[in-house]
Amino acid sequence: MQLIDLAWWQLALAAGLVLALAACTQLARLDIGKTMLIAAVRTVVQLSLIGLVLEALFSVAALPWIALMALVMLLMAGREVTARQKRRLTGGWAFGIGTLSMFISAFSVTVLTLVAIIGPEPWYAPQYAIPLLGMMLGNTMTGIAVGLDRLTDAVWRQRALIENRLMLGHRWQEAIGEARRDAMRSGMIPIINGMAAAGIVSLPGMMTGQILAGAAPTLAVKYQILIMFTITVGTGFGTLVAVLAASRRLFDERERLRLDRLSTPLK
């Protein structure tokens, strides 16, 4: 089975529907019409560009270029993690911790999956490596951003409580323990829910795509299970590492709570 080609005018039809929706929201004075249209234009431009980049990358298929692409994806994800936190660690620590923990989790799990499980030839074949890494980073990024945001927010609100525990002679790990466990949990819950709902409530995007592209549903299901597991592992370890590192950074060498290391929220 061959994937049915889509012409640009057919996409224009779908775009017309988006325009209609924007017009309706404008009539209802929801005040999001403009945001929606800008986002729609961004979708077209960004995806078209990435399409060109991927075509070029696939035709070259050289490791240095693929590594460069992976690095750019990682840095963009790190920037996104930083932007999603209300109170973030200052001095580049928010970006550093987010990016490093994604590097540790998403990168190593992707490489492990490529080398040990899927085994394409060569192992870095961009048709496998780039989409896999993209899915890993996208989910890991969300988990880490949620975890870090929850941690810094909880510490900010529970300052008096954490310091009272310090006054009683508790170690910093005990004093922040509850906030830390809470942050780790909230970073992992979305992906756990995703696994629980897969196939019943939602048909995962990658599986849908593979079926559309003509793959046998049973093979698509196997790939989807693999992806679900690797995403869970990547998100889980990434969140653990990020929350651990950030909570350490919230205390100094004298085990004092240092909220001056958090930025004040903008606006």
Binding site: A160, L161, E163, N164, R165, L166, M167, L168, G169, H170, R171, W172, E178, D252, R254, E255, R256, L257
Partner: protein, 209 residues
């Protein structure tokens, strides 16, 4: 070589060239078993001074409890020895008892509670009950010095007298050096062996009769 002091040997609390916030070059010594009252207008830095002594805020100068220096041990070990009780105590678990160390010898009757207090819900405590239980909780952690931030602020006169008697008796018995932030001159008269008042960047001694 002199023998290492036992962990519970009464020791003096000594601050040298301490600087935090507006305060600078503060020196004082509290001998074992003595209560030093600290007063000053609100915002003058009383709580910050206490926080510096407990090493909760970065500060200048050095603090020592007998042979134990603040920088010589980890933060949590220092604070376990030199324990601060804040004016507004915090409770994180559901029941009172969960906040006390396991196997601690506690006598809640001394502060007017029955033994069943350990099963009480924290959410139903009044501010006065919280304040008394916070003192009890600090003592149960077996400190060697106490930093008290207005320990009777939420208490009625009768309970205040009771807490004062309990604290002074424990202080003498264990030989703790105690720094006690207080506003009420009558209370300072009753409990303190010495009295310092914050004046600008310095502490000035106030005569105690």
């Amino acid at each position: 070589m002199k023998p290492a002091p036992r962990a519970d040997t009464p020791s003096a609390l000594r601050a040298q060239a301490l600087g935090v916030g507006a305060l600078s070059a503060i020196d004082f010594t509290i001998p074992p078993g003595h209560i030093l009252a600290l007063s000053g207008p609100s915002g003058s830095g009383k709580s910050r001074l206490l926080r510096a002594l407990a090493d909760l805020d970065p500060h200048d100068g050095s603090v020592a409890l007998g042979e134990l220096t603040q920088t010589g041990v980890t933060g949590h070990r220092w604070r376990q020895a030199v324990m601060m009780v804040p004016a507004d105590s915090q409770w994180w678990a559901d029941t009172v008892g969960e906040h006390f160390p396991d196997g601690a010898a506690i006598d809640p009757t001394a502060l007017g509670f029955g033994p069943e207090v350990m099963g009480w819900q924290v959410s139903r405590l009044s501010s006065g009950e919280k304040q008394r239980l916070a003192l009890l909780r600090a003592v149960a952690h077996q400190p060697r010095a106490l930093l008290l931030d207005e320990p009777t602020a939420n208490l009625d006169p009768d309970t205040t007298t009771r807490v004062e008697a309990w604290l002074t008796e424990l202080t003498r018995r264990h030989g703790w050096p105690v720094l006690w932030v207080a506003h009420d001159p009558a209370q300072i008269q009753r409990v303190a062996d010495a009295h310092l008042r914050i004046a600008g960047t310095q502490l000035e001694a106030v005569a105690c009769s």
